[in-house]
Amino acid sequence: MLEVRGVRKAFDGFQAVAGVDLTVGKGSICAIIGPNGAGKTTVFNLITGHLRPDAGSVTLNGREITGLPPHEICRLKIARSFQRTNIFPRLTVFQNIQAAFLSHRGHGLNLFGNVERYYRAETETLLGSIRLSEKAHEISGFLSHGNQKQLELGLALASEPELLLLDEPTAGMSATETHETIALIERIARDHGLTLLFTEHDMEVVFSIAQTIVVLHQGRVIAGGTPAEVRANPEVQRVYLGERGR
């Protein structure tokens, strides 16, 4: 469903991504791992249009989307969450999710309707599935970190995506929160038949839910395959798993 071919991106001469190829099949759960600075987030930003690749192409279901602006890309059933929590902090939880529905269903230019009448039921349902119903009317900026991450997931889901990109969905979470969030993501991906591409630093998480794993190192793909293949790959053990063991 998603094909990334030879994308490159340099920042002031630093080659952050040096020709990455990536294929994500429909309905699969794919993880990108790699040490800090390997280029994981940059790859995400290249896919979602936040950055324009210097070279290479990104195609979604056979359609070239390279260099489209983010607001157009996210109409193509791609949604993402961000590594640094990225919500609308002074709006309530309800308003956050409702805004995502308003935008995705094309009400952005509706100047005279009463916003309170739109997508109440949809918003309530989605809040239920991300387990935030009870906090619906709290100001989202005051939520716990774990709840904010859940809300971000909700913002992504409101677009009814087919492909969901999650950048470090459990970053900064406690062990319990991590466990709950991963269970939630897995359930939602299954229920909605989502294709999932995520980056993650917690190896336990990666090996427990990913069907395929791509290992980035210094802006290049050094290995890819099933968790078992990746685990057995000597190159991976040397640059990544080995480093962690030291």
């Binding site: 990225n86 609308f88 902090p89 002074r90 805004a99 952005g108 309707g113 916003v115």
Partner: protein, 320 residues
């Protein structure tokens, strides 16, 4: 919980000011009503979109000149000239805004200021059209003879009739603006204020959205300007000069950017204080500066923010 319709009540109460019989009160009230519309239009950008415009006076000035020129030189009736002033100001806002929304934060603010200075310079120098430095005095009053024939209004002066018309028009414009901020468009505008990067990735076309808000704000500023030119019996380049932009910015912040009617309250307080204090002392700017400093440190939510916090504290105390 339904709240009393404060806006409507205030508009109705305002209609009775001429009944007090003071020419001076009516004069100040007209000024307040017009500036309230100007400030609320700015707050669509500042409070809802998070966009700081240092050049909102440009659209006020353009509206004033457009309405004045149409009425004075082309004998266009007020009923057409005022909407035209709004549309012309909106068209300029669309053109200037096209460039402004390509920038963010302080660069956006600086570009709005730059365009406003260009507008001012043109008004100041283009003698054959704008009257240049001398401005354009003697804008004709709209023909409000019909108002005198309405039951109960016959005894009022023309200035009172114009005031009542102004209150009705401002109320109608505020009602429209309120619809806009409560619409899906308005809600998505607040997502841009909160987090433009994220707004883009729930599918909001941020630049286009900002541009539309800029045009709407410019349009209503233009209507306020058109009214002000008539009220002032003349249009002058000062209308588009940067102190006018900062005056409206101060009103907006003074009243509270987080509340729809905040800027209107700011306009009321600033203009009334100005009238009162200048009759005692010539140091009005000094007092204004001191007030602003106190406000910014003690009441960052503006006057309405402070009142609403006080209100909720009292409500809690009563329940406890």
């Amino acid at each position: 919980m339904s709240r009393p319709p404060w806006g409507l009540l205030a508009a109705l109460a305002a209609l009775f000011i001429p009944a007090l019989g003071s020419r001076f009160y009516t004069f100040v009230a007209t000024d307040v009503a017009i500036m309230a519309l100007f400030a609320v239009s700015l707050n669509l950008l500042l409070g809802y979109g998070g966009l700081v415009s240092f050049g909102h006076a440009a659209y006020f000035g353009i509206g004033a000149y457009a309405c004045g020129i149409l009425m004075k030189y082309h004998a266009v009736p007020f009923a057409l000239a005022l909407p035209a002033a709004g549309l012309i100001a909106g068209a300029f806002a669309a053109f200037f805004g096209f460039f402004c929304v390509r920038l963010t934060k302080i660069y956006f603010a600086m570009l709005t200021l730059a365009f406003a200075q260009i507008v001012w310079a043109i008004c100041f120098k283009w003698n054959s059209v704008t009257g240049g430095e001398q401005g354009m005095p003697e804008i004709p009053y709209p023909d409000l003879g019909w108002a005198a024939r309405l039951p109960g209004l016959g005894t009022y002066r023309a200035g009172d009739h114009f005031y009542m018309l102004t209150v009705a028009l401002v109320a109608a414009c505020l009602w429209l603006l309120r619809r806009v901020v409560r619409s899906p468009f308005g809600r998505l505008l607040t997502t841009i204020r909160e987090n433009p990067e994220r707004a883009e990735f729930i599918g909001v076309n941020v630049r286009r959205h900002e541009l539309i808000a800029f045009v709407i704000a410019g349009l209503f500023a233009g209507i306020a300007g058109g009214l002000f030119g008539i009220f002032n019996r003349g249009v002058f380049p000062d209308f588009a000069y940067w102190p006018k932009s900062s005056e409206v910015l101060i009103m907006t912040i003074l009243g509270g950017t987080g509340y729809f009617y905040g800027p209107a309250i700011g306009a009321l307080v600033l203009l009334v204080l100005n009238q009162q204090i200048t009759s005692y002392t010539q140091y009005w700017p000094f007092i204004l500066g001191t007030l602003l400093i106190i406000l910014l440190f003690a009441f960052p939510g503006g006057i309405v923010g402070a009142l609403s916090r006080l209100g909720s504290r009292l409500g809690r105390a009563r329940r406890a």
